[in-house]
């Protein structure tokens, strides 16, 4: 009896020297996603060694980290960013790799466009030189982030040299409360097991609270598996998965579709499969989450307070909290709801899909961004998400409220383009990392869900989205 992870592993195992734990194995890779930041050195070395990609049509490339989210018709201002994007274009053109270029409507964040195009399919191994590749596990894929040397290895051999992970089941049972989202589940889990809690594990999320999530929600959750230290997160196939994939450009059609679906239906853990570790959470107990520190595990609920390091006995932990509070400019015991914000960011590979934008727009509709907020940004995850949102009139709702409506890309999640925080600025962000300097040097990030970011934009400070009482204009 096997876990989903075991099934995926066995399906892709090309060669192994021994069955001993930690022994290195060659795993076949079905889908290789490529972006501009972690690939140039891999392409260069590949060429220097006189090698070529093993299977060109397994690769899908897109520039997302460096692209500007406004004024695209003028190209990329920063010459260093421009060179990196041009280098990707050149490499892809030379080698015949499918790439969605910057002005292509299909361009977007690599972890948004893979599933959107049906390029991510159940049962695949998916790799990308990006840690948030765990996102694709939402489709019962074995998906993980790799370094540049590994990008080159996969290009050259279609295989990854890796060792088997341990398995962890995280079961979330029951029904989520109003205003509680997949992002809150993810942050609650990280708060519980810590940012190293999943190190060495592949996590499978199970339970009725998970099954009731949309594919967008499942992607949010698997996306954050890496923030719990796990290289991979995954969820079994069900009707929701299959419905999402049907009719997408890269998805199988006709007879192949039926054949694929029959196989996909087997992609779940057997009922008596044994996991190395199990963690259980009650969905009803999860409240909207807000991070207060410089690691995603430094998180509490909207009704909570910033912790007081004085009460922490472990010296290492106390120092961590003190360092985080100093960086974040927060006093111990400050109620989360009293923290005022400067900027709002709705976007990133965690929360920039159509459902995220719809949920945030629902909160924003007829309301105004607080006058104390300097900038509120919505950055859709792809050109197609943007187009869909515009067809639904979501862009009008955001801009009428005072949000800026931008072009797709990674944007202020990691501030490699011009969208960033200035020193000391405080941001409610739907992204995935609140590390020091992540959104700009000296910037202060609080991770939240899209609805909580929207509510914070209206109130000017954190507030439970269920208690937001700002009136709506007709």
């Amino acid at each position: 009896m096997q876990t989903l992870y075991d099934k995926l592993w066995d399906q892709h195992l090309v060669h192994t020297e021994s069955n001993a734990p930690d022994s290195m194995a060659l795993l076949y890779i079905d889908r290789h996603l490529v972006h501009e930041v972690t690939s140039p050195q891999a392409f260069e070395s590949l060429k220097l060694a006189g090698r070529k990609p093993w299977r060109v049509n397994s690769i899908l490339a897109v520039a997302d980290h460096n692209v500007p989210t406004s004024g695209r018709d003028f190209g990329i201002n920063d010459p260093v960013s421009r060179l990196q994007v041009d280098t990707l274009d050149k490499n892809c053109d030379e080698l015949g790799i499918t790439e969605f270029k910057m002005r292509d409507v299909r361009q977007g964040i690599v972890h948004v466009i893979g599933p959107e195009q049906g390029a991510t399919l159940p049962g695949m191994t998916v790799v990308c030189g990006d840690s948030h590749t765990s996102t694709h596990g939402a489709f019962a894929c074995l998906a993980f982030g790799i370094g540049t040397s590994e990008v080159e290895h996969v290009l050259a051999t279609q295989c990854l040299l890796t060792s088997k992970s341990k398995t962890m089941r995280i079961a979330v049972e029951g029904k989520l409360g109003l205003g509680v989202t997949a992002k809150d589940i993810a942050l609650a889990i990280i708060g519980r097991i810590g940012t190293a809690g999943g190190t060495g594990y592949a996590i499978e999320f199970t339970g009725d609270a998970i099954r009731s999530l949309s594919m967008e929600g499942r992607m949010t959750l698997c996306n954050m598996a890496i923030e719990a230290g796990a290289r991979a997160g995954m969820i079994a196939v069900d009707d929701t998965t299959i419905e999402y994939i049907k009719g997408r450009p890269f998805a199988p059609q006709g007879g192949l579709w039926e054949q694929a679906v029959a196989y996909w239906r087997t992609l779940h853990s057997d009922t008596d499969a044994v996991f190395d570790k199990t963690v259980s959470l009650e969905a009803a107990g999860i409240r909207p989450q807000v991070t207060w520190g410089t690691s995603p595990e430094m998180v509490t609920t909207i009704d909570g307070c910033v912790p007081d390091p004085a009460g922490v006995t472990d010296q290492g932990k106390r120092q961590n909290i003190e360092q985080a509070l100093k960086y974040m400019g927060l006093q111990p015991n400050t109620p989360i709801q009293s923290i005022a914000l400067d900027k709002i960011f709705i976007g990133s590979c965690t929360n920039s899909r159509i459902e995220d934008l719809r949920a945030a727009a629902k909160v924003i509709k007829g309301r105004r961004v607080a006058s104390t907020i300097k900038l509120a940004l919505v950055v859709p995850g792809s050109g197609l998400v943007k187009q869909q949102a515009e067809q639904e009139g979501l862009d009008k709702i955001f801009t009428a409220a005072g949000f800026e409506w931008r072009e797709p890309g990674c944007s202020m999640c990691l501030a490699m383009n011009d969208d960033r925080l200035s020193k000391g600025e405080r941001c409610a962000s739907t992204s995935n990392r609140n590390f020091e300097g992540r959104q700009g040097p000296g910037g202060r990030t609080h991770l939240v869900s899209p609805v909580m970011a929207a509510a914070a934009a209206v109130a000017g400070h954190f507030v439970d989205v269920n208690e937001l009482d700002a009136p709506r204009m007709p």
Binding site: L26, Y28, V37, S81, T199, P252, N320
Partner: protein, 225 residues
């Protein structure tokens, strides 16, 4: 090991990992993430080299760093441990739990190596960072917390403190002659000691990969459309 271990000049790529004796610098902080190791503005480079001067940039300098700045003209943060005179030319970094967490950027190990580090010792590492280190010939060593506490203490107390790391024997030796054993995956050790290129090694299995691919094409044809 028979299939992996064909040390042929064709597969040599990294410098062979020799016995390392070097000054140890203590970075007494848990969860050091890859954004801290090498901030994102330096990831725009399309090269593998030159990242050392921007290692820990936001902690190491008082001014804000951007690509292309002359490091010798920048203002060092005298409080940051790497800048203290006693730790100059350090080759071994002592770190705390979950070192290298965050992104998959190989620029982080590149920066550590370019700065001059050969060995990183911590109680735990993030998975992707850990893998990336081996790929470039940087050795991450996992030691348990108590031994690490002792090493932190000794480094702090003794100026010029060095460790000797012998990968072949899987032992590190303190100045007092105390020997501490560590474990390392056999295949990775072999690659490091011999400076092997694992792409070359994998391609020795090219027939096996092709065979696997043919089988897969038959069983799951929709993956090859």
């Amino acid at each position: 090991m028979k299939h992996w271990s064909v040390p042929h000049s064709k597969y040599l790529i990294m410098d062979k990992f020799q016995i390392v004796t070097g000054i140890v610098v203590p970075l007494d902080r848990a969860n050091v993430d890859t954004d801290a190791i090498i901030p994102k503005q330096f990831l725009k480079s399309i090269k593998r080299t030159g990242f050392g001067q921007n290692l820990f940039d936001e902690w190491r300098y008082l001014d804000h760093g951007e690509p292309g700045m002359d490091a010798s003209q920048r203002q060092l943060n005298p409080d940051f441990v790497l800048n203290q005179p006693r730790y100059q030319s350090a080759r071994i970094l002592l770190a705390r739990d979950n070192f290298g967490c965050g992104s998959s950027r190989e620029h982080a190990p590149w920066a550590l190596q370019d700065y001059g580090f050969k060995v990183i010792i911590a109680p735990s590492f993030a998975d992707i960072f850990f893998n990336n280190c081996f790929k470039i010939g940087l050795l991450p060593i996992v030691l348990n917390g108590n031994i690490l506490d002792q090493l932190f203490r000794e480094v702090n107390e003794t100026e010029g403190y060095t460790l000797t790391v012998d990968l072949q024997e899987q032992v590190l030796t303190t100045p007092a002659g105390e020997r501490v054993e560590f474990s390392v995956d056999t295949f990775r050790k072999h690659c490091l000691l011999n400076g092997l290129d694992d792409i070359g090694l994998t391609l020795q299995h090219a027939d096996k990969i092709r065979e696997f691919e043919q089988k897969r094409r038959k069983q799951q044809p929709w993956l090859f459309v």
